[in-house]
Symmetry: C2
Subunit: 109 residues, 2 copies
Amino acid sequence: MTLHHPERDQIRIDSVLSALGSPLRLAVIRLLDGTGEHNCSSVLRTLSVPSKSTMTHHWRVLRESGVIRQRPAGREHLLSLRREDLDARYPGLLDAVLSAMGSDDAVCA
Amino acid sequence: MTLHHPERDQIRIDSVLSALGSPLRLAVIRLLDGTGEHNCSSVLRTLSVPSKSTMTHHWRVLRESGVIRQRPAGREHLLSLRREDLDARYPGLLDAVLSAMGSDDAVCA
């Protein structure tokens, strides 16, 4: 099965924002930022997500909106943030979102 | 009926992003930005939305996430963007989103 990824110029801001509009998916983004490829299992462990099947939907939303890249590697998938594409299309957006998560952390602490 | 609005420090980034993750709601934000209060009918006319009832859900999503303020005025509601609150909580976010819409316009043109 080929995993669909939009090209850089097919990415749309409403899909990106909708994909990011979830605490769990935001946590994934923060984890992937600046750390290259992660396999799905390690992301699940780090975020304490018990069920792999719960995440299938989330990976697809993130991938089909152009936020992450997901590639098969053996029996697993490797995930990475498409920071270069997102920064090229929407300068400042990802940094503003990541920094916004920090503001929420501060308020909730 | 009192309309619920979160206080500035109750605003959460995942709700804001989820609220903005829709072409129609993004169009509302762009329209409201920098132009003070608009009544609902004028927003609908400008965006060529035929049905008032379609929008009830969208106003609520935008209001409850802290993106817009909605206040009754006679038989209508007046809408405004909570730019000051959003800029204070999430510096650069709204500008990055508005500018991202411009990037999409350019790609789709």
